[in-house]
């Protein structure tokens, strides 16, 4: 855990008890930096990358290469008025953005960020815990869409619930396959057990299913049907504005990063690699996966909800179950 490392450094210089309090503070500040910097930098990368694809410049004016543009945007979001519709349910309307962004940060706090020590909260079976956190989001979205009292929001909310529930099933089966292959549900031991051969070579189909399923679960385009701006205007986010909307955006980017880290950890061997230090390998792989996820958003249109669900039920889920059975048989032999 990051806390342990900070504590082991500080305890050499500081009197007892003070070092404990101080290392808690330092860890907290580090977590805060990760929380704030991740979405902002990722947002900038996304904007620049999409601009490249679309023959535009993207942000260029604020800071070098426009790198400070998103900081300016966050400040702008914070300065905005809270516009609240008269008909919304105040409690659920106000609580959902906070809960949903906390959920995203919880996911990232469970993940190793480059080496086995670089993790904010270390839990046994953290892969299952991550799954539980991902499974929470349709509940929050339904509450949000119902509380907003808007027809477009309700349509988006139900789409979202249907979509996420469908794809989560495929996702948990891929988790089980990986866990069974490596004999553990702990991400760090899964990474350690693939130091010679990556899981993607054993389970290529599972990797693809996870890739598609995770895109659908985090509602990233091309599977962003619940908030498709061209159809439902903003879907279940329609009544949100200002900082509350910003929290959703932040949560989105954090989830995107989390999904790429999970993919790298489960299938691409995490920090295993030759010549370079492990942490560099880890981030190189993560960035490649991240770019792949982002480029899909800017090159594909979205399918219809019934088509999306039928892909999920008819193809992804059966394929992942068959895959699981094969893994089981191979493991038994």
């Amino acid at each position: 855990m990051i806390f342990d490392e900070v504590y082991s450094v500080l305890t050499a210089y500081l009197p007892p008890k003070v070092d404990l309090v101080l290392s808690v503070l330092v860890t907290f500040v580090l977590a805060l930096i990760v929380m704030i910097a991740t979405p902002i930098i990722l947002g900038w990368v996304d904007r620049k990358f999409s601009a490249r694809i679309q023959s535009r410049y993207g942000p260029i004016y604020v800071g070098k290469f426009g790198i400070l543009q998103n900081f300016a945007d966050v400040v702008k979001l914070m300065g905005k008025n809270f516009v609240t519709n008269r008909y919304v349910d105040k409690f659920s309307y106000n609580i959902i953005p906070i809960l949903s962004s906390i959920l995203s940060f919880l996911i990232i706090s469970l993940l190793p960020l480059g080496s086995s020590g670089l993790v904010f909260v270390s839990l046994p079976y953290n892969l299952l815990f991550i799954y539980i956190l991902l499974a929470f989001s349709p509940l929050l979205i339904i509450i949000a869409s119902w509380g907003e009292n808007n027809k477009f929001a309700v349509l988006g909310g139900f789409r979202s619930a249907a979509q996420i529930t469908t794809y989560e099933l495929a996702l948990i089966v891929t988790f089980i396959s990986v866990g069974m292959l490596n004999g553990s549900y702990d991400i760090i031991s899964i990474i350690n057990s693939q130091s010679f051969i990556w899981n993607i070579l054993y389970l290529p189909l599972t990797a693809i299913i996870f890739f598609i399923g995770s895109l659908a679960v985090i509602e990233r385009a091309p599977f962003d049907l619940p908030e498709s701006s061209q159809e439902l205007q903003a879907g279940w986010r329609i009544e949100y504005s200002g900082l509350k909307y910003g929290l959703f955006l932040i949560g989105d980017y954090v989830k995107l990063l989390a999904v790429s880290i999970i993919f790298v950890s489960l299938f691409l061997g995490g920090w295993s690699g030759a010549f370079l230090p492990g942490i560099i390998w880890f981030w190189i792989k993560t960035i490649i996966v991240l770019m792949l996820l982002m480029s899909l958003r800017w090159t594909l249109g979205r399918p219809r909800i019934d088509q999306l669900l039928s892909i999920g039920w008819r193809w992804l889920l059966p394929l992942s179950v068959i895959n699981l059975i094969i893994v089981e048989i191979v493991m038994l032999i």
């Binding site: 349509l155 498709s228 701006s229 090159t299």
Partner: protein, 365 residues
């Protein structure tokens, strides 16, 4: 289970309704039971305005009818007044007008296919289509000085001749557009399986619907009806070029999209032929700016980018029109919209609406 369903107001300020179109849809579990089109949010009284303006002063108003196909309407208005006055323009003017009309058609179709791609959730495609449109916009700007509303035509001709070296510029722009349409657009849209999944087999407009509602243009040709005013009753210089009438059989959203894609390539062919044989001469014949038009009834129709646009002009021998009636093709396409929206999914409703290419400027007039 029979539910009551909900009534969804889509528009007039909705990102997918292309302007200020409003749809009132009865929805039952993601299926549109019944849809109603409400128009009139952009009504500016253009037909009435014609009665208050001199003939030449009406061009700026005509520009804003179909704001993505302004030159087509300008040429139609100029032809109408010229026919009413019984004057014949120079050959060069006819050629220039045909070239400009075809460039405008390409620009209009590019906006259509870009906006359609965006309605399916692909923003990149919208930006790409506008990028190619920009090439032609620059050319129109160099020739006429205007971009969206060029105000290039006048009764008896056009304001400016082609500038030096513009032919090469048009050539290179067309080459680039052709390449992009054939390669990038192919990968992104019409051979992309996700795109085909969304657009095939929905919004089928049967030939009966087409004929009952007077749908014309690409929407009609997508239904297999071979009719194009450029070929059937050639005007301007269309009788001097060789081109095909593009038709598709399926009449669904994908067919309507494909007709536009192929018409872009066809327009490129027309412009290339015209540029080779453009005659010398004056670009305008001298008519007074404020003139009297002999009394009578004049009806002229042209093939616009969205269908058959027509103008019926009644003159009483004065300085201004007595009455002007404008037939806008989008208006008739919109009439057929509720019929093809029935029974589709909510997400498809937006794709279908986009596929008939309504421009509210000319619908509401």
């Amino acid at each position: 289970m029979e539910g009551k369903g909900i009534e969804l107001n889509i528009g007039p300020v909705h990102p997918a309704t292309h302007g200020v179109l409003k749809l009132v849809a009865d929805i039952e579990a993601d299926t549109v039971k019944n849809a109603e089109v409400e128009i009139g949010f952009l009504h500016r009284g253009k037909e009435k305005t014609a009665e208050l303006r001199y003939f030449n002063s009406y061009f700026p108003i005509v520009d804003k009818l179909d704001y993505v196909g302004a030159l087509n309407w300008e040429i139609l208005w100029a032809s109408t007044v010229e026919k009413a006055m019984n004057i014949e323009t120079n050959e060069r003017v006819k050629y220039i007008r045909t070239i400009m009309a075809e460039m405008q058609r390409i620009m209009s179709h590019l906006v259509y296919i870009g906006a359609f791609g965006q309605d399916l959730g692909n923003l990149t495609f919208f930006v790409w289509a506008l990028r190619e449109r920009e090439l032609l916009m620059d050319i129109v700007e160099e020739i006429s000085g205007g971009r969206l509303a060029p105000m290039y035509n006048r009764v008896g001709g056009v304001f400016y001749d082609f500038t030096d070296g513009i032919v090469e510029k048009i050539d290179s722009a067309l080459l680039r557009i052709e390449e992009k349409v054939k390669k990038e657009y192919k990968a992104m849209t019409y051979e992309n399986s996700l795109f085909m999944m969304r657009s095939k087999g929905i919004g089928i407009m049967s030939q009966k619907i087409i004929k009952d509602n007077g749908v014309t243009g690409p929407n009609m040709r997508a239904g297999g009806i071979k009719r194009d005013l450029r070929k059937d009753e050639p005007y301007l210089a269309y009788d001097k070029v060789d081109f095909d009438i593009i038709t598709e059989e399926e009449s669904d959203v994908y067919a309507r999209f494909m007709v536009r894609i192929r018409e872009i390539l066809e327009s490129i062919k027309i412009i290339r032929q015209l540029l080779k044989s453009i005659p010398e001469g004056d670009v305008k014949i001298s008519t007074p700016w404020i003139m009297k038009v002999p009394p009578g009834y004049t009806f002229v129709r042209h093939e616009m980018s969205k269908g058959e646009g027509a103008m019926f002009l009644v003159t009483d021998g004065g300085l201004k029109p007595y009455r002007l009636k404008i037939r806008s093709p989008s208006f008739y396409s919109l009439q057929a919209l509720p019929l093809i929206l029935e029974g589709c999914k909510v997400a498809d409703a937006f794709a279908i609406t986009a596929s008939i290419d309504p421009v509210m400027g000319e619908v509401d007039r």
